[in-house]
Symmetry: C2
Subunit: 115 residues, 2 copies
Amino acid sequence: MHDDANDDRLDLAFTALADPVRRRIVARLSRGPATVNELAEPFAITKQAISKHIQVLEHAGLVTRTRDAQRRPVHLNPARLEMLTAWIDRYRLVKEQQFRDLDAVLAGESADPKP
Amino acid sequence: MHDDANDDRLDLAFTALADPVRRRIVARLSRGPATVNELAEPFAITKQAISKHIQVLEHAGLVTRTRDAQRRPVHLNPARLEMLTAWIDRYRLVKEQQFRDLDAVLAGESADPKP
DNA sequence: CCTTTATTCAACCAGATGGTTGATAAACCA
DNA sequence: TGGTTTATCAACCATCTGGTTGAATAAAGG
């Protein structure tokens, strides 16, 4: 269970969130779907650039798009966000457990760190 | 509470994890500290490249370094990983609550979606 | 001293990325 | 039909990034 197949998806998702504009888009979409024009409005960059950012998020599986007449609202996909927290917690929790173990040893609970 | 000051730190941390080599380094460090040479061993790239990756992780606050004679072991910093899960969950959970609300409406619990 | 081990610095290169402008397509509205 | 809105595609440019090689630093061990 090495998660080799998931590596590409993690790459795309972390890369997508490694940009402040795309993170603000995610924050906005958490409050409901929006179109490209609505998303571009609070930014000082062109709509074409926002469209590219949304393509990055879509390719990473973080958002999906629907059809509503000539509009194409963008929706957030929380399942992909959950995949990221799962990966991070996997290593964060292991390390934090080591800290707790060390604290226990220093407190003299078992007094047998390792020969 | 806009997290403007945290934006740079999020940038650095997400960028750092947006690379499979650096993610493997984090995975390795979750099991204990290691030197540059030990970290470079399983990879097909030079130690200089690994050293650069560690600098990226260190600049992002994800790892720290200590001195042990001529060795400089690298340690994982779980607090920074926790910062990332906090950011992601902030928006993931809002969206998931919307799904639960929608399910409740569709089930006819309140029958008052919005005019 | 000289050598070994561990690591970084400097210069360089190929490719990816973020942004721009201009043209284009698709659906609506008059 | 023609015109507006919405969104994308194509070409281009400046910058960033990951990797390389080669030289340089620092601390032990002879």
